[in-house]
């Protein structure tokens, strides 16, 4: 007998409403799953989670979540997060941001929120291009990649968002790819439990735009394989010289430390927490 089981994570979806609008083969659906699995495993109070998305494919993730959410302005996720988190420190704030949202238009907010060690979890979905707008070059696009605005190959060097976050002052930073579900969930859980600025970057496949233009394939499996082939674990990377490493994506945990969290620029307190 065929017995249909309802996904136990369905209860976290806004109005129980699916399907989502992501393209077939997109990584955002997987990341939505990894996040909900993490929340469910940790038995977090879902009412007290505020999810934030700016503009872009990734930014739509909060639209599907049954939380209080902010959405629809490009790049301002961390400004929103600061207002909420400093005013209501008991709430847990989680940001879903694409590479364009977080590192391009929101780059300045990103640096300063990390510098202040704002107690917020940022899940960065890096698909190496501006996907929602049709596949333009992003601050994460690799050198010489063909995109809709780099027909002769990009002449800009990409950001390493994890290095950037560590330098700026983030206190938990990790990078994985969609093809590593267990590691993703483990790091998201750590990030959610971390007090301070936590960044989990997840390298994700965008078959529709980055795949077709930069990799000449619309096949999500092939894009995932490309990410896999270019990835190296931190343990292995530590043994290689910068030359041998080239532009490989280093996967792993880059920092995990405790520091006081941001509560406001000017504070009058009787005692330190």
């Amino acid at each position: 007998m065929l017995h249909l089981k309802k996904n136990p994570l369905r209860k976290y979806i806004r109005n129980g409403k699916l399907p989502h609008f992501f393209c077939p083969g997109c990584g955002c659906g997987q990341i939505l799953n990894y996040f909900l699995k993490s929340v469910d495993d940790l038995k977090l109070d879902f009412k007290k989670i505020i999810t934030i998305g700016g503009v872009g494919c990734t930014a739509r993730i909060p639209v599907y979540l049954n939380t209080d959410s902010f959405h629809g302005v490009h790049g301002r996720t961390l400004a929103w997060a600061t207002g909420i988190k400093t005013y209501q420190p008991d709430l847990k704030v989680v940001i879903f941001a694409g590479d364009g949202d977080l590192l391009s238009i929101g780059g300045n907010h990103f640096l300063h929120a990390a510098r202040r060690n704002l107690d917020v979890t940022v899940i960065l979905v890096n698909n190496f291009n501006f996907a929602m707008t049709g596949g333009q070059v992003a601050p994460t696009t690799l050198l010489d990649s063909i995109t809709m605005t780099t027909p002769f190959g990009s002449k800009e060097k990409p950001f390493d968002s994890c290095k950037l976050a560590v330098c700026a002052g983030a206190t938990y930073v990790a990078r994985w790819s969609t093809s590593k579900p267990f590691q993703c969930v483990k790091s998201i859980k750590k990030a959610l439990q971390h007090k301070g600025f936590s960044l989990v970057e997840i390298l994700s496949q965008c078959p529709t735009n980055f795949g077709r233009y930069a990799l000449k394939t619309g096949n999500p499996k092939k894009v995932i394989e490309w990410i896999e082939k270019k990835s190296i674990t931190k343990a292995k990377a530590d043994k290689l010289s910068q030359n041998d490493l080239g532009d490989k994506f280093i996967l792993g945990e880059f920092i995990n430390k405790k520091e006081p969290v941001f509560q406001g620029t000017s504070l009058y307190k009787e005692e330190d927490q």
């Binding site: 209080d68 302005v73 300045n108």
Partner: protein, 384 residues
């Protein structure tokens, strides 16, 4: 909201003070219950941030100096949606950056107060050149509420009024300050707490299962629900249905923005405040706002001394426009003068209302300095 903070000083400094205009704004905000402030340094608004950074933490509020004005406006809006009475302050160049956030605040109907101390481009000299930007700066359909003080006392009072209007209509409210006022010291009287109106936030009585975040009566704002309590509200810039979801619906879009603009437009007679001087027998009337009210009133006195029947209409609310009153005056006088410290902006609005009834003369000055009474008086004499 326990931030382990201890209240150290009084929120309301009742009494008589000799006070800087910018400080009067801070005292007004604290009196109105402001408990979140974000700002970015810019002259001539700095004293607002500076005093806030000291006063706000001492009364249990949050002060953040952000990385830019975009941060200021967005963190103010999000703090507001998290329950705060929130404010930011800036000057013209910084106000440019805030337009995006004002659009968002209008769309999600977030109450907040923005103080714009107008200054000349790149310089700190006096001007009123942003008067149109305060109405039309953001993209999309929306209505602005803008208040124009003309004294330090009014900076205090209208900041309180701004917070109250913001809560009542769930809309951003802008206090139009100017270099002239912000950096001037004057007498400010702060009343006792029991004599101050403090508009509290209107929260829903419905349970999360029944509550729809953007369901409201015609031309009214919806009721709030607290965040983090299971109401799962989506605050999005995109078109949102009554339940907050973003599935596009053309008729719904029309209805949403009719309500968001209608709640201000259709209530403008309740929102708009003016003060009239010598209007009863006036044969011509000066319309002025902000610091220009001061020399304008002096010019009216000079004219009266010479037996000329001139009156003054001082606009406290410059947006929305008090259309009915201005039309009524235009029907009964021979000429209207509009005095402003720019190349002639608000005069277009007055012409739109008055030209069928009487001629309108624009008296402008845009060289970083306020009109003198003689300048206004001689301009009037010339026109009459």
């Amino acid at each position: 909201m326990d931030r382990n903070l201890k209240q150290k000083s009084k929120r309301i400094n009742s009494g008589i003070h000799f006070m800087l205009g910018n400080y009067a704004v801070v005292e007004g905000a604290l009196t109105a219950g402001c408990d979140y402030f974000a700002g970015y340094p810019i002259t001539p608004a700095n004293e607002i941030s500076e005093l806030m950074s000291k006063r706000l933490p001492e009364v249990g509020g949050v002060f953040v100096q952000g990385e830019d004005e975009l941060f200021s406006i967005y963190s103010v809006v999000s703090a507001s949606l998290a329950g705060a009475k929130a404010m930011t302050a800036t000057a013209s160049a910084g106000f440019n950056y805030m337009q995006e956030g004002i659009g968002y605040a209008s769309a999600v109907e977030a109450p907040c107060v923005i103080v714009n101390v107008q200054r000349c481009r790149g310089e700190n000299f006096a001007t009123q050149a942003d008067v149109m930007q305060m109405r039309w700066g953001a993209s999309g359909d929306y209505e602005s509420i803008v208040l124009a003080p003309s004294t330090a006392q009014e900076l205090f009072e209208y900041t309180i009024l701004a917070f109250n209007l913001a809560e009542e209509f769930r809309n951003p409210v802008i206090v139009m300050s100017e270099t002239t006022l912000a950096l001037m010291r004057e007498r400010v009287e702060i009343p006792k707490e029991e004599n101050i109106l403090n508009q509290k936030r209107k929260y829903t009585s419905l349970s999360p299962e029944l509550y729809l975040p953007f369901q409201a009566k015609k031309n009214c704002p919806p009721d709030f629900a607290p965040i983090g309590k299971g109401y799962h509200i989506l605050y999005t810039l995109n078109y949102h249905n009554e339940d907050g979801t973003i599935d596009w619906n053309d008729k719904g879009y029309k209805k949403l923005y009719q309500r968001i603009t209608g709640k201000i437009r259709e209530n403008r007679n309740r929102i708009c405040k003016t003060e009239g001087y010598f209007l009863e027998d006036a044969e011509s009337v000066i319309i002025a706002y902000g610091s220009e009210v001061r020399p304008a009133l002096d010019a009216v006195q000079m004219a009266r001394n010479e037996g000329k029947k001139i009156g003054l209409l001082k606009l406290i609310t410059i947006w929305p426009v008090h259309e009915d009153l201005i039309k009524e005056i235009a029907r009964n006088v021979g000429r209207i003068f509009v005095v402003e410290m720019n190349l002639g902006k608000y005069v277009n609005e007055i012409e739109r209302l008055c030209l069928p009834f009487c001629p309108v003369t624009s008296i402008t000055k845009n060289m970083g300095i306020i009109h003198t009474k003689d300048e206004i008086f001689s301009a009037i004499k010339e026109a009459l």
